[in-house]
C-alpha cells in the first residue's frame, strides 16, 4: 500500500498543497498551541496538579490535519491521547484540563461542541461514531462522525464490529487510526501481523488509506477526501496515519523499559512541526516572531484554562449522586442521606 505524502520531511512539497499558505500557517499555529498544551500538562502532572497525563507529542500533524478537515458540526469521538484533535474541533482547553485534574465536568463541553468526552477504554468508542454518523443520516443531516484511535485499538473486537457496521450500513464515519508505533510497550509489528493497518479496510469492503501521519498536508487532504465521501453518502473510510509517540505512554510510563532511544531520535528528526515551519519560513509566511507570539498566546490561553479549572470547587456529594439520572431516584436519595449522616462534611 502506498504512503500518501504531500510535504516531505525537509518541508518540500512533493504534491500539490490542498491549502493556501495562510491556512497552512493557521493550522501550524494550532500545532504550536497543541504542543504547548501537551508540554504544560506533563509539567503540571509532575507538580501533582494533574492526574496521569498521556502526551501526544509527535502526533500533532495527524490530529490537527485530520480535525481541520471536519465541518464544525461534525461529530468527533476520540481517545485520551487526542486532545489536539478535540481542541481543534472546539473542545475548550479548560474542559481538557479539568478532565485531567480528575473532574467529571471536563466531559461537558459547551453546547454546540459535538465532541464526546475522550474515551479512556480502548476500542469501544469507534462504535459510537458509527451510531452518531448514522443518527445524523437518519435525521436528514449531512454531518458526519470522525473517530480517533490507536494502532493498539485495532486489535479490540469492537474495532472489527465498528468497521463492519459502518460498511454494512454505509454510515458517514471516518476512522482515523494514529499508528504511533506503540501500544504502551507493544510495538506495532507485534500488535498485528498485517503489513499495514490501512489494508484492514478491505476486510470490510471499505476504502483504506495510508498516509504520512507526520505530514500535516497529507493528513488534511486524506481526511478531506474521506469526509467528502462520507458526506456524499458513499460510506466510511479507514485512514492510517503513520506517526510516532515521542513521549512516554503516560506520565506513569517508563519507555526505557521497552524501546531504544535511537528509534525515538530517528522520529524526532521527523518532527511534524519542523517540516511545516520550514515550508512556511521558506515562503516567508512564518518567522521567529510569529513563533514566539504563537507560543505566548497558547501559554496565556492555557494559564487561563488551568486557573479556571483549579478555581472550580470539586463536586460535592450531592452533585456526585445527581450525575447518574435525569431525575434522582429514591435509592440515591437514601444513599445521599446515609453519606450525609456519617460524613456531614461531604
Amino acid at each position: 500500500m502506498e504512503l500518501q505524502r504531500i510535504l516531505d520531511p525537509d518541508g518540500q512539497l512533493v504534491a500539490e498543497s490542498p491549502l493556501d499558505v495562510e491556512d497552512v500557517a493557521r493550522l501550524y499555529g494550532y500545532m504550536v498551541a497543541a504542543r504547548t498544551y501537551d508540554r504544560k500538562c506533563t509539567a503540571l502532572q509532575r507538580q501533582g496538579r494533574l492526574a496521569t497525563y498521556a502526551s501526544f507529542e509527535g502526533q500533532e500533524a495527524a490530529q490537527v490535519g485530520t480535525a481541520a478537515a471536519l465541518r464544525p458540526d461534525d461529530w468527533m469521538v476520540a481517545s485520551y491521547r487526542d486532545a489536539a484533535a478535540m481542541w481543534v474541533h472546539g473542545y475548550p482547553w479548560v474542559n481538557l484540563v479539568l478532565g485531567r485534574t480528575g473532574d467529571e465536568r471536563g466531559g461537558s463541553p459547551p453546547d454546540g461542541v459535538t465532541v464526546l468526552p475522550p474515551s479512556i477504554t480502548v476500542g469501544a468508542h469507534m462504535l459510537h461514531a458509527v451510531g452518531l454518523g448514522w443518527a445524523a443520516a437518519l435525521q436528514g443531516e449531512d454531518r458526519i462522525a470522525a473517530t480517533y484511535f490507536g494502532d493498539g485499538a485495532t486489535s479490540e473486537g469492537d474495532f472489527h464490529e465498528a468497521m463492519n457496521f459502518a460498511a454494512v450500513f454505509r454510515t458517514p464515519t471516518v476512522f482515523v487510526c494514529q499508528n504511533n508505533g506503540w501500544a504502551i510497550s507493544l510495538p506495532r509489528d507485534r500488535q498485528t501481523a498485517s503489513a499495514t493497518i490501512a489494508q484492514k479496510a478491505d476486510a470490510y469492503g471499505m476504502p483504506g488509506v495510508l498516509v504520512d501521519g507526520n505530514d500535516l498536508l497529507a493528513c488534511f487532504a486524506a481526511a478531506t477526501e474521506a469526509a467528502a465521501r462520507a458526506r456524499a453518502g458513499d460510506g466510511p473510510t479507514l485512514l492510517e496515519a503513520l506517526t510516532y509517540r515521542l513521549g512516554p505512554h503516560t506520565t506513569a510510563d517508563d519507555p526505557g523499559r521497552y524501546r531504544d532511544d535511537a528509534e525515538v531520535a530517528e522520529w524526532r528528526r521527523r518532527d511534524p512541526l519542523a517540516r511545516v515551519r520550514r515550508y512556511l519560513e521558506a515562503l516567508g509566511a512564518w518567522d521567529d516572531d510569529r513563533q514566539a507570539a504563537a507560543e505566548e498566546q497558547a501559554s496565556a490561553d492555557l494559564e487561563a484554562a488551568v486557573a479556571a479549572a483549579e478555581a472550580l470547587p470539586p463536586l460535592d456529594a450531592g452533585e456526585m449522586f445527581a450525575g447518574m439520572f435525569a431525575e434522582p431516584p429514591p435509592h440515591l436519595a437514601d444513599q445521599a442521606a446515609l453519606l450525609a449522616r456519617d460524613r456531614p462534611g461531604d
Binding site: 464526546l116 464490529e161 450500513f169
Partner: protein, 325 residues
Amino acid sequence: MAELNVAQALNAALDTALAADPKVMLLGEDVGRAGGVFRVTDGLAAKHGEARVVDTPVAESGIVGTAFGLAIGGMRPVVEIQFLGFAYPAFDQIVSHVSRIRNRSRHRFTAPLVVRVPYGGGIGAAEHHSESTEAIFAHTPGLKVVVPSRPYDAKGLLLAAITDPDPVVFFEPIRSYRAVREEVPDDAYEVPIGEAAVEVDGSDVTIVAYGAAMRDARAAVAALSDDGVAAELVDLRTLVPLDAATVLGSVHKTGRVVIVQEGHRTAGFAAEVAALIAERALYSLAAPVERVTGWDTVVPLRRAEHHYIPDAARIVAAARRTLEA
C-alpha cells in the same frame, strides 16, 4: 381492549412507539423480516419499514455500541438481544459506556435507549439460553432495570422505558411470553418505572418475586390460600430503582418474607432485598428471611432443568417455614 399474551403486548408497545415517535427505531438480530426469535417484532418491519426495524449483523457489542451512538445523536433506539446469554459480548458497552455517559458528561450527552433481553429458563432451551443474571445489571449504576411479569405491565413498562431519559435494560420472561394472558388497552399508556405492585393482599407472610418467577409465586399464593394462609404477593416489576417502601411496608405488616428469584443464589437480587430487610425491617421480622432461588450452578439443560428452577412447591415450603419459626 384485547386479550394479549406478553409477547403480543410487547409487540403492541413497540408498534405504538414506532407510530408515535419517528426517532424510535428497533435494532437487533433477525428483528426485521423474521420478526424476532420470539416474534415480538412480528410485522413491524413490514409496517414501519426496514429503515426503522433494522436487522443487524451478528455482533452484540456492535449493536449496543451503535445504538448508544444513535441515542446520543438523537434517536430512540430499542435494541433486542436474542437471549440474555448473548448480552455478555455487549457487557462492556452497557457497563462502561451506556450507563455512564450522562455522568461522565454531567448531563451534556445522554443515551436514552432500551435494551430488551428475553431471559430465564423453564422451556428446556439450549445452553446459554436460560440465563437470569439481572443482578449484574442491577449492580451497574446508571441503568434502570425493569422486569415485567404480565401483559399489561409489559406494554406499559416498555412504553415508559422508551420515553425514559435514561437507559433501561428490559428483561422479558421467556416462559411467560405466551403463557400469561390478560386484557391490555389498545391505547398508549405507561406503567411507571420504579413502582412495585402488591398483586395479592395478605397478612401472614410476604412473597416478593418478579418476572418469570411470578407465575410460580402466584401458584404458591393460591396453594397457601387453600390451606388458609394469607400470603401477600409483591411483584417488584422494577429492580432499579427499587420500590423499597412497598417491600418494607409489606414486611412490617406480615413479619415474614420469602424472596423468590430464578437467578443464581450468591449475590443475586434476592440478596439485595434480604439485605434491605435486615437493615431496615429487622425488628419487624418474626422469622428468618427465606430466599427461594436458582442455584450456583449453570442452568441445567432440558432433562435436568427442573432441579434448578424455583417452583411453587419450594416457595410454599419456604413460606411454611417462616410461619413455623
